[in-house]
């Protein structure tokens, strides 16, 4: 449905085959003042998998995503992305490396419509110069139309045609989450980080969202790291699960293995939900 043309952004680095390690974090520790948000965390994410990160509230899941896309800088540890050890980087670099994300508390551009929000996801791919932008003809208009076409494909894919021109501030929560997924997809990411994409949704919306996530992986081979509280969803759609509790990793494995793990059961019973 969406035959995305690779714009050459990732022409340099070698392609990584499905199943190979795409991202590896080793011994990551992150503290805010006295609060140890992450304590020597290690795990990897393989190309093409759906990797769930779960754990009770305050376990450090969001912090982990922020470390992965370079927004937080851990005090200790090493991150290897596509076989290269990453240095401290600016927040805008992650997007260039093909990492995009959604946020736990929806972070859409509230003054823009659905269409414009998803167009915003193409920011890095559009580069026709200032002169043409002033005139909005020739290269500038062609570029705008080409990217609009891509964005319309994403809109079709996510079944949000009816809210195309609606300012996102007015949308119900479930649709906002969907638009945010669309915006992240517009970046054509290699690694997609989803922070609680189904929080606050009803069963039907959760089923839709699960389907979209699996379709994304299926159609574009996108690797997905996902934080989710709903265990049913996690068991259904993820290939491997890492469990955090109080900033420590307490389990890592397939959904079945994790579910039977006594530490995990204790952690979830210890923190009343």
């Amino acid at each position: 449905m969406m035959a995305f043309v690779d714009t050459g952004r990732r022409a340099g680095p070698k392609p990584i085959a499905a199943g190979e390690v795409l991202l590896e974090v080793e011994g990551i520790s992150l503290a805010f003042g006295g609060v140890k948000a992450l304590n020597s965390i290690s795990f990897d994410i393989r190309k093409g998998e759906v990797r769930a990160i779960i754990g009770p509230n305050g376990a450090g899941k969001t912090s982990m995503l922020n470390v992965i896309n370079g927004f937080y800088h851990p005090q200790h540890g090493r991150i290897t992305y596509r076989g290269e050890v990453r240095r401290r980087q600016r927040p805008d670099t992650a997007a260039q490396q093909g990492i995009s994300r959604t946020f736990q508390n929806v972070a859409l551009f509230k003054g823009l419509t659905t269409l414009e929000n998803i167009m915003a996801g193409r920011a890095l791919k559009m580069n026709v110069g200032f002169f043409w932008q002033c005139l909005r003809v020739g290269p500038a208009l062609n570029e705008e139309i080409a990217h609009r076409r891509k964005v319309e494909e994403i809109i079709d894919f996510l079944e949000i045609e009816h809210i195309r021109k609606v300012p996102v501030g007015k949308l119900p929560y479930g649709l906002k989450k969907r638009v945010e997924l669309g915006r992240a997809l517009a970046q054509e990411p290699e690694l997609l980080l989803l922070d609680e994409p189904m929080a606050g949704m009803n069963l039907e919306e959760k089923e839709d969202m699960s389907r979209f996530i699996l379709d994304v992986r299926e159609q574009f081979g996108t690797t997905i790291a996902l934080i989710e509280h709903d265990m049913g969803v996690v068991m259904d759609i993820s290939d491997r699960v890492v469990v955090l509790d109080y900033g420590r990793k307490i389990a890592d494995g397939t959904p079945d293995e994790v579910q039977k793990n006594q530490d995990v059961i204790d952690a979830y019973l210890g923190v009343q939900h």
């Binding site: 414009e116 915003a120 920011a123 909005r136 705008e144």
Partner: protein, 358 residues
């Protein structure tokens, strides 16, 4: 149901992305342009053209400039008056140093000087926001005004400290300086405004405008999506100051003819800011509505009672104007931050579904 898009199918994305996708809008804009270019010069009295239309259009240009910065990029500035001043002084210097080049070229070029100055004073915007940025731009306002007074070179060491528009013409018609007809000046101002509005609308609808709005609405998300904040904000300062600079040059050459530094003071900054707030943040139409309203209000308050046979002292007129503007600003800031432009939208929506409520 006078105003609707039913039956007007868009056949491509280019159509859908046009400035005025609905036919009635296109007709409307053609009518407005015809009135502005034909009816106003033919039927408008010299007083109406020179004391209402010309300053109103020039201030619209400045309001568009400030709106780009504040409405689209979310960066507040209280230095608009001074940035306009930079344009006026630059244009004065250029026009006197190179008298053979057409003055319209220098009006357009003077904007680049204020753009450069705007970028310099925009540098702190990477670190500071909101009130603190407002204070930083206030510093720019006072520093630049100080320069206008103290640096004699800027006024060619004129003893009065004022700068003057020399006599210049276009196609044999005098357009600036003493003796230029108000029609010629008006047509120059109108044409510059129409052309630059078109450019502004192109920029804000394209990838650059989108980046500004991304930074305005959620800078962290914008950054994580690959938008670099500093260049994006500085470009907003540059483009915004360009418009303000051209407006300042026009104010000198097409309106006053002679100006002192005091004209570019903080009051001018506030006047333009009020236009943007009342007209609507993040809307080019709003800049027109806001400037039109603020420019027309004192005149209406002054002359409307006269028509009814009541004579108001001018002090009362001033007071009433200030009170109305103040009240509207509070109203719009609290109730409707998108100003007149938003009311305009709502009105159009009502027309679309008329006579039904929804």
């Amino acid at each position: 149901m006078f105003y609707r898009e039913a039956g007007q199918f868009k056949t491509g994305y280019a159509d859908d992305m046009a400035v005025f996708p609905i036919r009635q809008d296109r007709i409307g804009i053609a009518v407005i342009l015809a009135i502005a270019y034909l009816a106003v010069p033919m039927f408008g009295s010299p007083f109406f053209v020179s004391t209402i239309m010309i300053p109103m259009l020039i201030l619209t240009m400045a309001a568009i400039g400030l709106n780009i910065l504040t409405g689209y990029a979310g960066l507040i500035s209280l230095g608009t008056g001074a940035f306009m001043g930079v344009g006026a002084y630059a244009c004065f210097k250029l026009a006197t140093a190179f008298p053979d080049v057409n003055v319209l070229v220098w009006v357009l070029a003077s904007g680049f000087f204020s753009a450069a100055i705007g970028v310099v004073f925009g540098l702190p915007s990477l670190r500071i926001k909101g009130l603190y940025l407002a204070v930083a731009t206030l510093a720019a306002q006072f520093f630049l005004q100080w320069c206008f007074v103290r640096i004699g070179w800027l006024t060619n060491y004129s003893s009065s400290g004022s700068i003057e528009a020399a006599r210049r013409s276009l196609f044999g018609v005098q357009i600036t300086g003493p003796g230029a007809s108000e029609t010629a000046r008006y047509l120059c101002v109108l044409t510059l405004l129409v052309a630059l509005t078109w450019i502004a609308s192109n920029i804000v609808r394209g990838r650059i405008g989108r980046k500004w709005m991304m930074v305005r609405d959620m800078d962290i998300a914008a950054e994580l999506m690959g938008v670099r904040l500093l260049p994006t904000k500085l470009l907003a300062f540059a483009v915004s100051s360009y418009f303000c600079g051209v407006a300042g040059a026009m104010l000198l050459f097409f309106h006053y003819g002679s100006m002192e530094s005091i004209a570019f003071n903080i009051e001018l900054s506030f006047q333009v800011l009020f236009m943007v707030i009342i007209g609507g943040l993040g809307s080019l139409i709003g800049s027109y509505l806001g400037a039109g309203f603020i420019a027309a209000l004192p005149v209406v308050i002054k002359f409307a009672p006269q028509i009814l046979g009541i004579e108001l002292p001018s002090a009362v007129v001033d007071q009433v104007t200030v009170m109305i503007i103040g009240g509207l600003i509070i109203f719009f800031l609290i109730v409707e931050p998108h100003g007149f432009a938003r009311l305009w939208q709502i009105g159009k929506q009502k027309l679309r579904v008329w006579p039904f409520p929804y």
